[in-house]
Amino acid sequence: MKRVAASAAALALIAATTWLVWPSGAEVRGQDQTITVVDGPADDQRVELDTTFFPPPGGGKAPAVLLGHGFGGSKRSVEDEAIRIAQDGYAVLTWSARGFGRSTGEIALNSPDYEVKDVKQLIDWLAKRPEVLLDASDDPRVGIAGGSYGGAIALMTAAHDRRVDAIVPRITWSDLADALFPNTAVPLSAAGDAGQSSAAGSLPEAENGVFKRMWAGIFFGQGVSLDSLALRGRPETARPLTPEQARCGRFRPEICAVYEEVAKTGRPTPEAVDLLRESSPITVAAQIKAPTLLIQGQRDSLFPLSHADANARAIAAGGTPVSLAWFDGGHDGGDGEADWVFEQSSAWFARYLKGEGDGKTAPPVSAFTVTRDGGRDPGTRQRVRLHPETGSYPGLGGTATSTVELAGPAQNIANPPGGAPASISSVPGVGGLLGGQNSPGVAIDMPGQSAAFESRPLTAPLQLTGSSTATIRVSGQGGTEATLFAKLYDVADSIQPPTLPAGLVAPIRVAIPEGATSAEATITLPAVDHAFAAGHRLRLVLTTTDMGFATPAEPATYQVSLVSSTLTVPTVGTLAAASGGVAWWVWAMPLAAVVVAAALLVTGRARDRRRPGARTGAAALPEPADGRTPVLTVNGAAAEAPAPDPAVPLEISGLAKAYSNGELAVDNLSFRVEQGQVLGLLGPNGAGKTTTMRMMMGLIQPDGGEIRIFGERVTPGAPVLSRLGSFVEGPGFLPHLSGRDNIELYWAATGRPVADAHFDEALEIAGLGKALQRAVRTYSQGMRQRLAIAQAMLGLPDLLVLDEPTNGLDPPQIREMREVLKRYARDGRTVIVSSHLLAEVEQTCSHVVVMHRGKLVSAGPVSLLLSSAPRSAGAGNGHGTRLEDVFLDLIGDNA
């Protein structure tokens, strides 16, 4: 127990020390700075930017990271992330973009004339800081990271400023016009009147796009911050709003005017598209030379995965390293994977800013990584995410395509007047709050507004990675435009509602030419990564409404059908989980444990063998005075250990055993018992009789000396013990078994032949009669005692050791037992009896050994002991010398 306590204390100490010594991040202190910049098309507008500079905690010069905030946020909303990056060994500068937080100026949507110029001057400022590592004079080693609005500024600045060395834009846009006015339909040809087919199709997509009304309202209204961090804290504003600000928020007037126009009509104007394209990285992405890690959210109906795709392809076209990750996050919620995203950006900056791993050709983050659901953690039952990756980015078309046959008749659907009630796919801005982070996208389609085309149950699982395509025909009145929303559902069975992966829809606008009755178009469904299980169906649904978009108020009916029944599904077979297979410890640990276990067992055995051998020298065995009288001499008379004699039933030499407190229970005990003797082992309580007997049975190991039975040294389980019958310290039976079962099973446990047991003789001694069939727990003390002695006599062992055999027996039984023992020894066997009934010993035993406090006091034939006793002991009582008197005299208690 002490050892257990000690190891527990040691473990606690280690744990506490680890806790204290565990490296905690160095403290990072931000320095608030107001940096004045000059921007505008004519470089004449002074803007004061509210910034915080976080010097590298380690001191010295370090690369710098500019960290931009999301729309509606401020430098405060990225403070935690800034500190984390700084602790990673960078100088970090956060700033509130113009029009946000305490910075002055108006929002220009990351325009090259405004925000981009601001950030270039922030880079100038960084170049003057002593903490920042320089590539050249006025050219700091700098990266830019940020999400959404802050991600777009990273791309825009990198395109306009060659000093930027690496960027990690997250969940941001490539084309703001396309983000707000998406249209994923490409007309095939106009059916009916072929001559007038091309007019509508030649329009740029955005200029004919469907207005993403709710997102745009949130974006421009500033009512809801897109920045989840800003939602928690109080938004920072510089001062109360002016009437102009109340109307336009803090937007630049031209942006405000354009928004008011499009929001009213729900149709893009060319001015609006031009203005939004100004602020779109796609127009300048080819100029980006800074290695770019694009992290885009799979749950993002504002800037869906196709935006990252467009950026990645445009940047890669310029020969710049680009990696792309689709993570579980985005403007619609998801987990966010903050730690994983941080690790990826950290790896990206470590390579391209710190120069770690220079010379490696592979980028620090694989070209394409996708976060997938890895089921539940078996321990916590929490969702786990896998991150399969591939070395080349396949685009939204995948590395291969599967085709799924869809079926369904032509269906009539109606656009309700006023566009209400509208189908629901995702609710912008609050999608993550309402739906919960892990709920599958459940969408509602209004009846009468949707046409569905369904596949047969899949025969094999299908992993869709990218954008599926289909071709549809829309019939209706000539000269009208059909506004539809395409969704691809995963249908498990008829019971569960179908799931809409990531809650994404593809808005499409198909123009039916004047004079024609129908138009055909190829539709590109939202880019998703989704696993369709075997047995599930794919269902393509086209609806006329969607809550997130502006739809025509004019009622209309269309007939929708498939041109081709084929749905083309892109797959990326090369995506493989990064770790691959099971962790090394899964195999190594059990193997190591088996090795350790084997070592534990082998070393234990080896020590066992060595230990008693080393002690044999301590044995001091007195030679018998002559061959016939095995008189035992006491203590200490050193003599050589004689050759073991297989005829000697018991030979104890130099035996010692200490209690755990060091006190000796048996102290250098030596004696010898010859064949045919009935030896009485005498001694007061605590003399060490029982301990000696236990050592004879191999139950406890001597600390010194040895015991030999028939010449064999006694060790735990030594085979020679099979010649020893023992009854020590009370009976030991299984209380639930009958006496006979106990005896028979005990014999069976010795593994010896039943014929050798001599059950009848033994049981006769027990004398239990019918009680033998009863459970032992019903026995009296005396019955158990007799049964135990019978058990000891099973197989008629050559040496019988009995501890207090007459305890609990009545006088007739005692007398009988005396005869049994004498008879037993007469047959050439040997009996050792310990007893405190001295009269018993006197009548039963031929020899006696007297012990006191672990030491041998006297040994010899009873008769000799009695005759050699001093006359003083018990003299004068008229009965001659009694053993009792001798005994008391020997142990010195004869007061």
């Binding site: 444990a593 234990g604 139950l699 389980g717 023992s726 030991g732 078994l737 099973l745």
Partner: protein
Amino acid sequence: MTAAPGYAPRRTLPLRVEIVRQFKRRRTIVMFGLLLALPWILVIAFQFGPQGGDRDQSLRISDLATESGLNFAAFALSVSASFLLVVAVALFCGDTVASEASWSSLRYLLAAPVPRDRLLRQKLIVALGYSAAAVICLPVMALLAGTLAFGWNDIQVPGTGETIPALDVLPRFGIVIAYALVSQLVVAALAFLVSTMTDSPLGAVGGAVGLWIVCTILQAVEALGVLREFLPTFWNNAWLDALAPELEWSGMIKGASVSITYAAILIAVAFRRFRRKDVVS
């Protein structure tokens, strides 16, 4: 003649003898009776509950229990694996040596002599056998009771509510039981080690169950992070993955790895300690 005629160490304490010695114990019989009766008690409990009606969207394992015999068996296993089976296994393995010590019969077995390693080996095999029988008999009886009470239908997966054909899932059920056996190995080894260290059978059982409870509590401390994966209880419910639509091995492999690791070391320590121990009971 060093040993008595007919004595051979490798013939001592045959498994048959040890099985009989343990089987007639009231403790064994009560535990098996409980494990066999529990599914029927659960069936009755479900019969008393409000019937069917408006089942809401929740797809918890307990809500699905009455869907089919297989669902019911999975439910019975899920409610018993975390504690009842642990107690059962701890009982069979923790009691085996400690009870002999408390009856004083251990010293007579050792003096018979049954070599110590052999005594432990035979007792461990029999205790593991009883434990395995306990772990197997509960889900099998639950399957029987559930099928009689709720019919032989396809299994509905908790969480997602997907259905898997009953015949497909039957071999998976075998995996579940096999994994439950392996994951209880660590309880068995722990109880067995404590059993060789104490004379009190209930102390051995309680010690093993107590350590198990401590591990379960530690497992809830998320701050321990990845260290929790190495707690013996962490992967206890990994068998649920075998009933998912996609059979997922990784959790069960890790769980088996952790369990075998602990079990090997604990059992080795038990043998090593017992070999050198002074038997004073």
